[in-house]
Symmetry: D2
Subunit: 361 residues, 4 copies
């Protein structure tokens, strides 16, 4: 067993256990230094970050800052559908499993239609054009909500990443069926880092209408950006944000840190590091007897089944991690600040715990 | 005219133009320094601040942290009434005039019933027991929403402060009519500073069921606390907060700065300073020809009518301030960090502008 | 005093105290006679009535049948605005005073913005272009819901009728301000009967986007029609109706009686009779000492102030009527079936009651 | 093939294809005969029916009349849970499959949690205590809606009937888990007819909190009753009904026909007849080659798989029926007025169609 104390230990539970990255912290401080600033986004940073995001995506998109991912996704979806419409997503989608009915609440009742978890794509947490087509053609009567949106998560909740071609294919079926395409990008940076593509390639150039660009897991203290590539869809969205309690009065503290993420490609560097740590962990444990990795990591998480006794032992040693959403396994999540040493220490403990579990000690 | 540049000028538009106070900033930094911390309030600060607030109020209240005042008020009200109920408040209440229908949205349709603005109390932005009684007895049929909550703002939107006796009297009629009592305390600290009472005296000891305790205007970067003195009313409120997109994942950044406000009575000192600056401004301009102060400031704002030309001239010089909610006048708002020099410079410019306006130059 | 018994007395409280008119009853019976019929509007009458309404209005409008006026108005308004929008109407509008927050509920929070009741038009229960303009230009910031709809009631809640020119003028300002125009036509037939115009003249030809055409007060047992003249606005409205619990399974019982109203201009004859009875009542009481008629009736109601003792005496004799919405007076409402004898008996009792009240007996 | 014309044919699609039963029609007529009557339930029938229902159930329950089943279920559920709660039901529950998201809309976002359709009970459309327990213990964190209600349908959507013991067992687990128990009784009469028990035995005596008692399918033209056995749960429910557009102004036309159902046990006789017709159809076709009856009918529907060509042929002959909810089979639904001759003709046509399909003609 390692001798690391459990205090201040880097955990593998969630990338939102991490703090603020230095660049974000610097801009946060700078925003405070200026004394009085107009509120509600009329400050000197908010416009600047919005422009920087437009530049990043190489298109004249509409940008709004909200407090967290549940709000970003829920408000985006609510702007794409009415209460009697439905949203197609996977059964492991964050909007389904971890937002406490936020999408239904903000839309005043829209239903989520879930694809089968047991298919090959489902096991990777992905939608496919066929799965979308199947759901959209399942019913056509007015006694069931009419599908209006496809929501995909990039990177997915199972640590995989849609290729550009996969997104394009889903966008094609969405367009043919008159569905809008929403991308939950809580870990969008991790996906771009993996794909090595331009951020526009995996979003509007591939057919995405609205992106919820995650800042929190990428190194911000608080805040996500909702990016409308189809600007017709963002009509009066500022009112929606305000009414929903998502307009920060001291907006500069939400927006300025984004400048820290965007300068010098910090967002990508943060994501690449997190991804590399997941790969490092995967490499270290994939051959460990008792460990069954579900699929190779494509972003910043490793999903693996461990002997129950091993998982229990690791927790007893102070490690924190989640049983993953679909049940029965473990999720090991790396962050922008996960040190190599923590990965190595955790891998060593996994090895010991599995050995002990298998030998029945 | 003063020679102050408009850049970095301290404004009198809103107390949310101010930044973070040093104590809040220190704790914010400290929260970041610790590396990984559990999310969603499981960190080491959130529990501590909650306990500190219970100690502050000398009662075992339930405490929840949300992102802003619209959310705090809307969620609190939604927990006190159903969609077919109504909320009694003044016509200048923030929940009515500045939350873009947030209370109606979060409650799924509750109506706000407004007291007359033209009464003596109305001109001071206050509810009275009689006004509440009048509204609650106006209708008793099912064709109009049933009154269920009284919402008062302390300090009020017109810069006045309810006395302990006034709150008690409203609470008495509320209790008799089976109404819950909500206090919008966006500037609660300013009211306590003015009254010199214990915070419990003006809240639960006076009959308040739920307080939205404003942190943002008091020196936080972001965040308000919803304090349930009647704990029966907060059943499952954590779910409500989560569903509504108001649960911070990196909660420590929202909660830790509250420790900065609470240590060494910083919240009170901040409020006292803001109040003092309003008094200083009032003293400086009340006798200026052309200036008609509406009522002496009791918190951190001065409400005054100025000659239209004077207001225009002041704006042209770079000063920012609001026309106040009820129309036709100006609101000059002071913050925790408003310097005496800024007050003096502003007062001087008001004097000059009024003189010029009256002489028709 | 008259000797009429209070049992089975025709009342003057509401036109929904009346039953079904013979033509409606005949078609209701006929619809039942056919045995099994497809549900949800696939029956042989629903399509036929929809076509008949299109013919009546001389345009290819979309028609939906719902159960009552609250639902008709609320669903129509919800289709015209989002939760962060507002609806401009008078302070006596049924949507404001008598639907228990239905519009706010169905729209998930839209606010009603009320015009002043004290203006000349306000006293007649009417909107004016100026009043609309004033409300729509009052605020332009995102902290208050954005006006999106004008809702007028035709005939009004105060028994007056908008002229074609008045509707056109309101429609013009609505169009210029990008507002949709909704007409609450709970007593639409009474208005058309008064104006003597073609139903299209006062609706789509005057700029109305959606009409809620009242059937209940005109002689149906249950049911109103929502008529979309701008068919773009009714996209997926059938889903909205279904989700909101307003789609009748045995639709024939809702739709078939409309054929009874539409055949031989029954709807107009019913309305003309009700209007004539109001005129008869007005003629009989306008000169009675103690009676102060507020304005001459233009539809099927008389609004008058009576000595308090007289109103009490009339109630004691078994007459039912409402104090009218704006307070302090009486509303005497006539229906399609109000007999002349009932009007005469009621007028006689009013005369006696006023005389007694004035002489203090 | 039979020679019956398709016109006026009795269908087997839905029991809401049937008209009004004679007793209901008689009372409907009688309600109209009386001239003016107070509105909104103040008439002479509504109170009487409410009392009659209390007598029927042998308890002092609260009774409300609404227009249809979607509204009855949605309003009842909304009164039992908040937006961040969830409702446990089967995957074939009408509230899930055929109300277009009504429950989510009226509750402002409550999620439905579905039991597995593939279990033995699932195949019969039933909940079990174990299935409820599994769902209620699945999650206990605030990131997923908290279970608050169990909703069962009696008779079920698959034509089966819960025994008294089965309801009691579900109620026991509900009580232990602090869940309210809702019964969708669109075909409650058919269930009581099958069980031969007292209506109280299968409702409040078994632990049901709220029953939606279906009138439409039992022979009414329009209308369902929401019956609260736990009167604490119906606080302000009248306001909820009004706001939701479910309060009939001419209430007598909704309530009076219920007197027709209740007199001389008409509701039971109607249900018994429908059930008997389903049994007759089952008997006639169960042994027909090609027909695979899924389970013996316990209420008024037969669920069976037919050769695809046979189903197509029957439709071509003018018979209407649904493919049943879970896919792949046919639902043959009998009504209070289905004649024996229609059953026999339909059975004969099924026999012919199957024979033709199997011989490939």
């Amino acid at each position: 067993m390692t001798t690391a104390t459990t205090t201040h230990r880097q955990h593998f539970a969630s990338d939102n256990y991490a703090g603020m990255c230095p660049n974000a912290a610097r801009w946060f401080q700078q925003a405070n230094g200026s004394g009085h600033e107009p509120a509600y986004g009329e400050d000197r940073w908010t416009q600047r970050v919005s422009d920087a995001l437009r530049e990043l995506f190489q298109t004249d998109c509409d940008v709004y800052f909200v407090f967290n991912g549940t709000a970003a996704n829920s408000l985006a979806l609510a702007s794409l559908c009415q209460s009697y419409h439905s949203v197609i997503c996977t059964s492991v989608a964050h909007v389904e499993t971890d937002e406490c009915g936020g999408p239904e609440f903000f839309s005043n009742g829209s239903k989520l239609m879930l694809t089968e978890a047991s298919s090959a794509a489902g096991k990777l947490g992905k939608l496919t054009p066929d799965a979308v087509e199947q759901l959209v053609t399942k019913r056509s009567d007015i006694h069931y909500p009419k599908p209006k949106v496809v929501s995909l998560t990039q990177a997915t909740e199972l640590g995989t990443v849609y290729t550009v071609e996969e997104v394009r294919a889903i966008a094609a079926i969405a367009k043919r069926r008159h569905l809008k395409l929403h991308m939950d990008g809580a870990r969008f940076a991790n996906a771009v880092a993996t794909l090595g593509c331009h951020p526009s390639d995996i979003t509007w150039r591939a057919g995405v209408d609205v992106l919820c660009f995650g800042g929190t897991k990428n190194g911000l203290p608080v805040g996500e950006a909702v990016v409308f590539f189809d600007r017709d869809l963002s009509e009066d969205f500022a009112y929606r944000v305000k009414q929903a309690g998502q307009l920060a009065s001291k907006m500069r503290f939400i927006s300025a840190p984004w400048l820290g993420l965007l300068e010098d490609d910090t967002w990508l560097l943060n994501a690449r590091h997190a991804n590399a740590m997941a790969t490092r962990l995967h490499t270290a444990i994939k051959a460990v007897p008792g460990v069954e990795v579900l699929h190779p990591p494509e972003a910043n998480a490793v999903f693996a089944k461990l002997p129950a006794a091993a998982a229990t032992a690791l927790r007893a040693e102070g490690w924190r991690f989640y049983e993953f959403i679909a049940g029965g396994g473990c999720r090991f999540m790396c962050a922008w600040d996960t040190p190599e040493a923590a990965v190595d220490a955790f891998a060593a403990d996994i090895r010991s715990a599995c050995a002990a579990a298998l030998t029945g000690r």
